[in-house]
């Protein structure tokens, strides 16, 4: 079985997390710029005397599909690399992936990830 691990992290932690994942043998990952709303509050901008509240904070979403037995290692690596101890460090979500195909070769599942 394969699982997708998606981590919402602080943008400037991306390089650290990427390196930590490569170290434990993760072969690939995909990254998206998102904006998040949670406990960490946005800031206020001021223009010509008018105030604007920014309700969302910039976050980076990184997701990687791995074999089930790698999930714990991946979570550990992310926690180790992405944590600052401050509110807004983000969350990790694990979901099930039923099938993986490599477009180039048509290989499926575990083979497609290697």
């Amino acid at each position: 079985m394969m699982k997708q691990v998606t981590a919402v992290i602080k943008p400037f932690k991306l390089d650290d997390v990427k390196d930590a994942l490569l170290e434990i043998g993760v072969s690939g990952m995909s990254v998206t710029e998102i904006r998040g709303h949670g406990r960490q509050k946005g800031h206020t901008e001021l223009y010509r005397g008018a105030e604007y509240n920014v309700d969302f904070v910039p976050k980076t979403s990184l997701s990687t599909v791995v074999k089930e037995d790698q999930v714990d290692a991946v979570i550990e690596a992310i926690i180790g690399a992405a944590g600052t101890g401050k509110i807004g460090d983000g969350k990790i979500f694990v979901t099930n992936v039923e099938r993986v195909v490599r477009i180039r070769t048509g290989e499926e599942d575990a083979d497609a990830l290697s």
Partner: protein, 398 residues
Amino acid sequence: MDVFFLTMGAAMVLAMHAGFAFLEVGTVRKKNQVNALIRVITDFGFSTIAYFFIGFWVAYDINFFAPVAELNVMEGGTHGYKMVHFFFLLTFAAAIPAIISGGITERVRFWPNVVATVLLVGLIYPLYEGMIWNGNFGFQDWLSANFGAEFHDFAGSVVVHAMGGFLALGAVLTLGARLGRYTNTGKVNAILPSNIPFLALGSWVLCVGWFGFNVMSAGTADGASGLVAMNSLLAMVGGLIAALIAGKNDPGFVHNGALAGLVAVCAGSDIMHPLGALFVGVVAGVLFVYVFELLQNKLRIDDVLGVVPLHGVCGAWGGIAAGIFGSTSLGGAGGVTFMAQLVGTLAGVAIAIIAGFAVYMGIKATLGIRLSEEDEHMGADLAIHQISANPEEDMQTH
């Protein structure tokens, strides 16, 4: 020689129109940037036509419809000084729609706006321009007789700026606020500018071009005055520093503050003492910040770039200030009276306010003046020009 002098002045003020364009591009939302650019250059085009065929004749009773041989412009003659003078004064006249443009942007229809431009530059502006700068209708004589001096407006604080700024008042009120700007519950929604660097670029171009606006208003190379240059400089600096402080480091206020000082110094730049000019600039910078906030947030007038406070209020302040700081008792060169300045200024402001409502209400009633809700929501760029400001990128992400 003087042809060269005025050509440089005209080129510098022509450049200011690019400045108006970028000040507006930077301040509006991205979906209206293309429209801002096209509207400014189109206004310039139709202003030229209107001023060439009607306006210059209304103000100065001059036209150019004789064959070249009879116009006395070739090398033996005047080298076409009148023609380059037309060019120089046109760049002033065309500033009227360029000023108004900043107030009505993001919601005005395209061709009705062109009609307004033609009416203002062909008729309204040259009417007052001729009264002040060509002695038409005996207004200046009347001021002289009653208040001891003519109305002195060296480079157009009132003739150009207060005129444009207060014409914009009628235009802005006729159009109404942008969708979503003010809610029924009394909330004021901020609409953020798209691009501060473009805004700043526009401001810089205007600042530099302004030295053509002011210094070349002397008309001849030998008449050029270092006093005008220095006063313009100090008022600009006074305005920007005052707006920096009053506006709490805000980029919009700082960059417009420099312009506020320059607007205010035009009228008396040839007669005030540099310290007077500095003071006039400081007041203009502060005025701009406070009147801007008052109009936008208290009076709920959606004058997008703040052209009423910038050109209108600071221009009127400049007209009056020339009567104060131009007097010899405050170190000025004299030859002005406070009352003549006050009356002359108020006359200009009154004409502008009345004409602004008349022209824009008239157009609204006949042609319609405002984009449909749907078009305004989509943005003037796609609605009118079928293209966005960054088409390559927008095609990918939209």
